[in-house]
């Protein structure tokens, strides 16, 4: 922990009143509140997980919050990234987050890092903080943060979410396991959907982000039982909380006794992202939305195949024949390979897989609608809602 003299973390009359509900509890007290004030916590990401995390750490009186985020507030973020409001759409997340933190608690020092965390900067950035909270949304950064924390000796408060389930733990402490002890290797790209493909219950990052804030505060105070060596599993739909035991892997390449990873690596490559073949969609036959519209209007016999899910069809559709991608293998007999087929989905990725699949099954007249129904809404029918 950063050591500062008690004098420099002395609380003013104003702060004492602000934090009174902490101070009247023996578990926090003046000493605990001063530890919070002395603490330097790095929040990686100011999105779903980062929103409640940063807000509550600020409210609690953490003295210095580092914020790492290169992204800009998007309209679809507002469903869950509650540190950002409607008027922030288009602004840098860092600026939006800093404004709200300052409004809640002007005593918090904010250090902004307007950058993508990478192997080139992670160690330098993390070095000046006591605790790192990982609120990121992709596997390469997860491994990067983990390794950087282990190499720097900083605890990594981990949280992750998917749809309506979440995980939380505290990694990279001296005695405890690290992320690699749990998951030595990442999944190959494309095997685990992202929030944009899988959706996410808006409240979920709230639930998990608060758990992360709680763990960070416990580590600072030295109170309670932190989630070291424990994986908390949250199922929001069932409202069930389960716990699994995590062990430190003695052979872990980064935190084990025979460390083989002594510096940060290329995490994109580790996760199989760089050097991958060009996605199948670029080699597949495509049709632009304008051309499809022209040919449909001209009365041409085109079979429009929609490979999205039924609930997406309800949002908007092109009157296509709906066969969700997962059902395509067993419902292929509904398709006539002698007809021209145009497959579409939301943005062109799933329908690309459908076209690839059908071509391998012998269909010769199948094309992918480039850009999906989103591109149709942009270029052909602006009245169509986008999602």
């Amino acid at each position: 922990m950063a050591t500062s003299t008690l004098v420099s973390n002395a609380l003013s009359k104003d702060e004492i009143l602000r934090y009174s509900r902490h101070l009247i509890m023996p578990e926090v007290g003046m000493e605990g509140q001063q530890k919070l004030k002395a603490a330097r916590v790095l929040c990686i990401g100011t999105g779903g997980l980062g929103s409640p995390l940063a807000l509550y750490l600020a409210a609690a009186g953490v003295g210095t919050l580092g914020l790492v985020d290169f992204d800009v507030v998007d309209f679809t973020n507002l469903q869950r990234q509650i540190i950002h409001s409607t008027s922030d759409v288009g602004r840098k997340k860092l600026d939006s987050a800093a404004d709200k933190i300052g409004a809640i608690n002007p005593y918090v020092e904010i250090e902004r890092f307007d950058t993508r965390l990478s192997s080139d900067n992670a160690l330098q950035i993390i070095r000046d903080f006591d605790i790192v909270v990982d609120g990121t949304d992709n596997f390469p950064t997860r491994y990067l943060v983990n390794d950087a924390c282990v190499l720097s000796g900083k605890p990594n408060v981990y949280g992750s979410i998917f749809r309506f389930e979440g995980q939380a733990s505290v990694f990279a402490t001296q005695q405890g396991p690290c992320y690699r002890c749990l998951y030595p290797e990442p999944p190959p790209p494309g095997l685990v959907p992202s929030c944009a493909e899988g959706g996410v219950l808006g409240i979920l990052p709230g639930l998990i982000g608060i758990i992360q804030a709680t763990e960070a505060i416990k580590l600072i105070l030295g109170a309670g039982d932190p989630l070291i060596g424990r994986l908390l599993l949250v199922d929001a739909l069932g409202m069930r909380f389960r716990e699994l035991k995590l062990r430190k892997n003695a052979d872990c390449p980064v935190c084990g006794s025979n460390r083989t990873i002594n510096e940060l690596i290329d995490y994109q490559q580790f996760c199989g992202i760089r050097g991958e073949e060009a996605p199948a969609t670029t080699a597949l036959p495509e049709i632009q939305p304008e051309e499809l519209k022209r040919r449909l209007d001209a009365g041409e016999d085109i079979f429009v195949l929609d490979v999205r899910e039924p609930h997406e069809y309800q949002i908007c559709n092109l009157n296509g024949h709906l066969i969700p991608l997962g059902d395509l293998p067993k419902r292929m007999n509904e398709l006539d390979s002698s007809r021209e087929i145009v497959a579409h989905c939301r943005s062109g990725v799933r329908s690309g897989k459908a076209v690839d699949f059908l071509r391998q099954a012998g269909f010769r007249k199948v094309k992918n609608l480039s850009g999906g129904i989103l591109a149709w809404a942009d270029k052909v029918d602006p009245r169509m809602p986008k999602y």
Binding site: T136, F162, R163, E185, L231
Partner: protein, 94 residues
């Protein structure tokens, strides 16, 4: 015994969040699971039959990797198996 199916894999297990199987050992339980839901197999196992590295299996609350008999561990009706894949939320890759 109950096998808890994690969200990302439910689409391959008939959308169920848990599956009941009767089995004597852990590997027996998993093999009954993948026989009943063949699509699950390629998501859980590599081509040479090993459990994928980003998937962890827990018998009750213990990681199978750390059990003395590993996947030959005996299981009883009241036990539960949890399949825990790594998840990382939502970078928009579409």
């Amino acid at each position: 015994m109950k096998i808890f199916i994690p969200t990302p894999l439910r689409q391959y297990a008939g959308r169920q969040d848990a599956v009941e199987v009767h089995a004597s050992t852990l590997s027996d339980a998993l093999s009954k699971l993948t026989s009943a839901h063949p699509d699950l197999k390629r998501h859980l196992y590599t081509d040479d039959g090993k459990l994928r590295a980003f998937v962890n299996v827990y018998l009750n609350d213990e990681d199978v990797r750390y059990l003395a008999d590993k996947d030959k561990t005996a299981v009883k009706d009241g036990d539960s198996l949890s399949i825990i894949p790594s998840i990382a939320g939502g970078e928009d890759i579409l």
